[in-house]
């Protein structure tokens, strides 16, 4: 399940719905929540703007979820990413992987977030006391 949205999400509610969908088939659920930090590269962050490429984003996230399901035995997988304006401590991203096996859940969760960070078309622009800057990718 993938979603791109401006509004906040509720990790507890997502985990509870995932548990309902799995109903005894998943022994292990690993999740990752990304939060806006109040410091980045030594500068205070006042706010952040997340831009994306509508259409391509959803396709990229769906592909990443599909790859994870092919590589590991998963009972469920979730990717939720916010776009638009955010402030420190706001949630940015939620990914989760449920599996009968702990090792698979960890590896799949890490794959989802690592791959998202290198392939999904999101860009962060930070507002600091010194002005506005785009976060540099690799």
């Amino acid at each position: 399940m993938i979603r791109v949205q401006t509004e906040d999400f509720d990790p507890g509610s997502e985990l509870e719905q995932l548990r309902d969908r799995c109903a005894g088939r998943a022994g292990a659920v690993v999740s990752f929540v990304g939060l806006v930090r109040d410091l980045n590269a030594g500068e205070v962050i006042r706010e952040m703007m997340l831009e994306h490429y509508p259409g391509m984003t959803e396709q990229a996230l769906a592909d990443i979820e599909q790859e994870a399901r092919q590589r590991w035995e998963l009972a469920d997988a979730i990717i939720i990413h916010r776009v638009g304006p955010l402030t420190p401590n706001d949630r940015i991203v939620f990914v989760a992987a449920a599996s009968p096996h702990r090792e698979a859940a960890f590896r799949a969760c890490e794959y989802l977030i690592d791959t998202l960070k290198t392939r999904a078309p999101f860009w962060k622009k930070e507002t600091t006391p010194g002005g506005v800057r785009w976060v540099e990718g690799d």
Binding site: E51, V93, I113, A120, P121, W123, K124
Partner: protein
């Protein structure tokens, strides 16, 4: 017609987010389209010379020798920084 899109810092540098144009004479692939856009002036020349830029056609990342056809959506963007 082809649809061109520019994202994030590249959009701000060029001052353009979206444009539509007739497939220019002599443009057959990404590399020749880039050369054509660079001929618009120094800002375009410099910005599109950045080797870290990604190019996507119809929302899939492609390489310089990928063909460009009428009706395509071609997008340029800097390395992604989500998550």
């Amino acid at each position: 017609m082809i649809q061109l899109r520019y994202f994030a810092s590249l959009r701000e540098t060029l001052g353009v987010g979206d444009e539509q144009l007739e497939l220019p004479e002599g443009v057959s692939d990404v590399a020749s389209l880039v050369r054509w856009l660079q001929s618009r002036g120094e800002v375009w020349d410099t910005a599109l010379s950045d080797r870290r830029l990604h190019v996507a056609i119809n929302q899939s990342v492609v390489k310089p020798d990928t063909p460009v056809n009428d009706g395509d959506e071609v997008a340029w963007f800097p390395p992604v920084t989500g998550g």
